[in-house]
């Protein structure tokens, strides 16, 4: 099977969907001509392949980019727009939160908005807090948006293709560090249903629910735990909205223990939602209090040792698991 980074997998999904559906177009800052030339990046080569009519470099105008998607989607086009870095979501947020998410409801179900907003996220490249700030919990809090945050290149491909075909607004968040981590990706048509979590490792002793880049951290922790005879089950949510509560609950009912792991800051983070679902639905199955492993409540710092301190690591996951064993 082909080995691709997540950026290449996203690129392949975009190419395939654009090839088979003339209503699909992409727009954003540098999606055509970029300041970064690398075949590992999501929109590399698309301008050459599809031309400037369908690969639209925009001014630095996030509200206009997101509004472009809303208006074009209302007309039945299938825009895939890029917000260069997750923190810039704030500049596009009115269009996404007040319009993309709500206009169908306000129309009484008459209109639909088949658009995808891709956002590049994650800490780890030393740019600091205005380029690294994972805001998936903000987006997940807004009814009317679907929220996808893949952890593997194959999932990114399958989910992005589904997102483009979905009749609803989808926010698709890519951790940039994963662009450079190759993994197997099926060639050609490959779809993954939105809203289905995936058990990336089976285990009987503790459930670790996670998503995006933290999957790698969870798997690393699981290997360390396995050496000590503890079998962790790793649930990769892949989609935050709609949330696959069934998979979470059945895993927790099996293991009786839960750790939720994400890179975003702690207070109001999506781990709280996962925890609440488990407390409401599976409290009696818990053998111990649950634990959250998250970024601390600070902006992402720039200096390498500070940034490393910010990002949750496998040792924190191992120690959280040991606390509740």
């Amino acid at each position: 099977m082909q080995q691709l980074g997540m950026g290449q997998a996203v690129n392949q999904a975009l190419r395939e969907e654009m090839s088979q559906d003339p209503d699909v177009f992409i727009a954003g800052e540098g999606v055509g001509v970029s300041i970064h030339e690398s075949p590992m990046l999501p929109t590399a080569g698309l301008l050459k392949a599809f031309g400037p009519e369908r690969v639209r470099d925009t001014p630095v105008s996030e509200a206009a980019i997101a509004g472009l998607a809303v208006g074009a989607a209302e007309a039945g086009l299938k825009p895939v727009v890029e917000i260069m870095f997750n923190p810039f979501f704030t500049l596009a947020s009115d269009m996404i939160v007040n319009h993309a998410a709500k206009l169908r409801y306000l129309s009484g179900g008459k209109s639909s908005f088949p658009l995808v907003v891709r956002m590049k996220a994650g800490a780890g490249f030393g740019a600091g807090c205005q380029h690294s700030h994972n805001l998936e919990a903000w987006v997940a809090h807004c009814p009317g948006l679907k929220v996808i945050m893949p952890a593997t290149p194959a999932d990114a491909k399958g989910l992005l293709k589904s997102a483009i075909r979905d009749p609803n607004p989808v926010v698709f968040i890519e951790d940039m560090m994963l662009y450079f981590v190759p993994g197997p990706v099926p060639e050609g048509e490959y779809l993954i249903s939105i809203g289905e979590a995936d058990i990336k490792r089976q285990g009987r002793d503790v459930t670790v629910v996670t998503w995006s880049k933290m999957l790698g951290t969870a798997l690393k922790a699981a290997e360390e735990l396995a050496r000590e005879g503890v079998e962790a089950e790793i649930v990769d949510l892949r989609t935050l909205v709609p949330l696959d509560t069934k998979t979470i609950l059945s895993s927790v009912r099996k293991t009786g223990r839960l750790v939720v792991l994400h890179e975003a800051t702690r207070t109001g983070g999506f781990a709280g939602e996962v925890a609440a679902v488990v407390m409401e639905e599976a409290f009696a199955d818990l053998k111990a209090p649950l634990r959250r492993v998250t970024g601390p409540n600070i902006p992402v710092p720039a200096s390498p040792p500070l940034e490393r301190f910010y990002i949750p690591d496998a040792a924190q996951v191992v120690s959280a698991v040991k606390e509740i064993l």
């Binding site: 001014p59 105008s61 996030e62 206009a64 472009l68 208006g71 008459k110 009317g144």
Partner: protein, 320 residues
């Protein structure tokens, strides 16, 4: 510009219908428990909706704002379904989800009424992009107020529309007030249309209480947009007769100022012109007035007799 008689008749009826519709709403708002939520009216500004929409084709799109009633009626929305929506009834155009502030009527190509000031322009640019992308000859009109011209999204959209030559017309109804702020308190340029120059877009200033002048300017802007020459920003000078909403006591609007602008009401202006030119007789005018009264009365009856949605219907229509 020679304006056909049929267009003038269309505009006159549109003015009368919108005025009757909103005067009825003003009265209904005084009845406790009748109309839920805020009520925001465009009374006195109807020539803009009437004139602009008369210049449009059915396939043209409008994106409007909280002061939308005349735009939607002029574009051809069914008064019954608008009134029922304003009442919060299930038979409303949005099944009670939007109320008076967000009336969405996609079947007449009026898919978005946004109450976020400045929310319309980026969406209008996107809608116009779709028209351009598909090679359609239709255009999109975005109605905003003077307050919206101070929102960043307005400037981003104007710039994008200019750079991409999008077939969009930005219509700014300068009614002299944004909330409780008079124009001079929130904007230093003499005309909002002056800002168009900053984006290499034509900026036009027109009397917004003169339906025929509104129509002529909109026809020009539409031709330009449909020919691929890009956007136009038209500023219509008008006045907000009512407060921001019906609960606004208008203590900051001088009585003399209101009276002076009411003397420039768009209805007698067009009506007088048409009577003087023999385009309509007194009898035909009376018949037209009776007809729009009957339409509004029927809309109120329809809304009154319609059921409210069941509470659980609130859960529907979030996702497609």
């Amino acid at each position: 510009m020679e304006i056909p008689k049929a267009k003038k008749m269309e505009m006159l009826r549109s003015l009368l219908l919108s005025r009757r519709f909103e005067e009825t709403l003003t009265e209904l708002c005084k009845i406790e428990g009748k109309i839920p939520g805020m009520m925001i009216l465009c009374t006195g500004q109807e020539a803009i909706g009437a004139g602009v929409c008369a210049a449009l084709q059915p396939e043209d799109v409008i994106i409007t704002n909280h002061r939308s009633h005349s735009h939607l009626l002029a574009k051809g929305a069914d008064p019954k379904s608008l009134m029922a929506e304003i009442y919060g009834k299930r038979t409303g155009c949005n099944k009670g989800k939007s109320g008076t502030l967000h009336l969405a009527v996609p079947e007449i190509n009026a898919p978005c009424t946004t109450t976020v000031v400045g929310g319309g322009p980026p969406i209008a640019a996107g809608r116009a992009f779709a028209q351009q992308y598909r090679g359609e000859k239709s255009v999109t009109v975005c109605f905003i107020g003077d307050g919206a011209a101070n929102e960043g999204a307005f400037h981003e959209a104007l710039n994008l529309a200019s750079v991409w030559h999008l077939p969009v017309i930005f219509v700014c109804e300068n009614n002299l007030y944004a909330g409780a702020q008079r124009y001079e308190e929130h904007t230093r340029v003499e005309h909002i249309a002056d800002r168009a120059a900053g984006y290499a877009v034509p900026g036009v200033v027109v009397d917004g209480n003169d339906a025929l002048a509104v129509y002529a300017s909109a026809v020009d802007a539409r031709s330009r947009a449909a020919a691929g020459k890009g956007p136009t920003l038209i500023e219509y000078k008008t006045y907000r007769w009512r407060g921001h909403g019906e609960s606004d006591l208008q203590l900051y609007q001088p009585r003399e100022e209101i009276a002076a602008w009411q003397a420039t009401c768009p209805i007698p202006k067009l009506r007088g012109d048409m009577l003087a030119q023999g385009l309509i007789s007194a009898d035909e005018l009376a018949a037209m007035e009776r007809e729009v009264q009957a339409v509004v009365k029927a809309a109120v009856r329809f809304a009154e007799e319609s059921p409210y949605p069941e509470p659980h219907e609130a859960l529907e229509d979030v996702f497609a």
